[in-house]
């Protein structure tokens, strides 16, 4: 991995932090919307919602692992 200065690393981590926060808020919205649909008897949205939620989790995990690799570089 390319080496960065400390200032660059701080800028990167702030960007990642904002992005991960947005993704987590999106996941929360997805969960509440799915719960509403489930209680309202609409089960068709649950599969796509679960897949999207897992995708967001994978993205968050990837960004976290990027931060660990960034620290080691």
């Amino acid at each position: 991995m390319r080496t960065y200065t400390r200032e660059q690393k701080m800028t990167i981590i702030h960007g990642v932090l904002c992005f991960v926060s947005l993704l987590v808020i999106l996941q929360l919205w997805l969960l509440t919307a799915s719960m509403n649909a489930y209680l309202g008897g609409d089960r068709h949205v649950l599969w796509p919602a679960a897949l999207v939620s897992l995708g967001l989790l994978a993205l968050n995990g990837g960004l976290l692992s990027f931060l660990y690799r960034l620290q080691r570089s």
Binding site: V20, L23, V24, L31, S34, N36, L39
Partner: protein, 182 residues
């Protein structure tokens, strides 16, 4: 500053002054502030990722619960005789199981409706208020339209589940329950 107490390369004290201008205790315990800030933010991202994992698990639990509760059409159940039901009369019954209280209301000669009695907000039992054409939930002052079960007041956002009815030979039967999001 003694050579043995030099802070890690590239670190800066939090007040922005040089290390020679720092108090003695800070020279004795030099902390790599930039690294400290980086680790703090990385740990926060880690916490957010765990939250994300929790949401994904919740989503999977919903999916599992939905899979376990496969839709099966409940049995038909007799509720009342049409000729014994006056206009404006309310009949309480339980459907599809004994744990599901419902209300049947005759609104007109040809208009009969039945809904689950459990409020869609926090499952308090609703009471009919015919003069105001609504079902009222006394727990949080929610209300539902008497004719279609839509929420019209208070915290509930979903309509009352509607009990599907069938009239056959002058007898009213409950044949299913239909929940909806709007």
């Amino acid at each position: 500053m003694e050579q043995g107490h030099l802070p890690p390369s590239g670190s800066e004290p939090p007040n922005g002054r040089s290390w020679h201008e720092q108090a003695g205790w800070r020279n004795d315990f030099p902390i790599d502030w930039a690294q400290d800030h980086y680790v703090q933010r990385r740990e926060f991202v880690k916490f957010l990722c765990l939250t994300s994992l929790g949401f994904a698990v919740g989503q999977l639990c919903l999916l599992g619960s939905s899979w376990l509760r496969q839709e099966t059409r409940p049995d038909r159940k007799e509720i009342a005789r049409l000729d014994q039901l006056n206009i404006g009369q309310v009949v309480s019954f339980r459907y599809p199981t004994e744990r599901h209280p419902c209300l049947l209301v005759r609104l007109g000669p040809d208009e009969i409706v039945a809904y689950s009695q459990l409020c869609t907000h926090l499952s308090c039992p609703v009471v009919p208020q015919l003069e105001q054409q609504r079902f009222f939930c006394p727990c949080h002052h929610g209300a539902f339209d008497l004719h279609d079960g839509r929420p019209i007041l208070g915290p509930p956002r979903r309509p009352l589940p509607r009990v599907e009815l069938q009239v056959e030979g002058g007898v009213i039967y409950a044949v299913g329950v239909r929940a909806s999001t709007t």
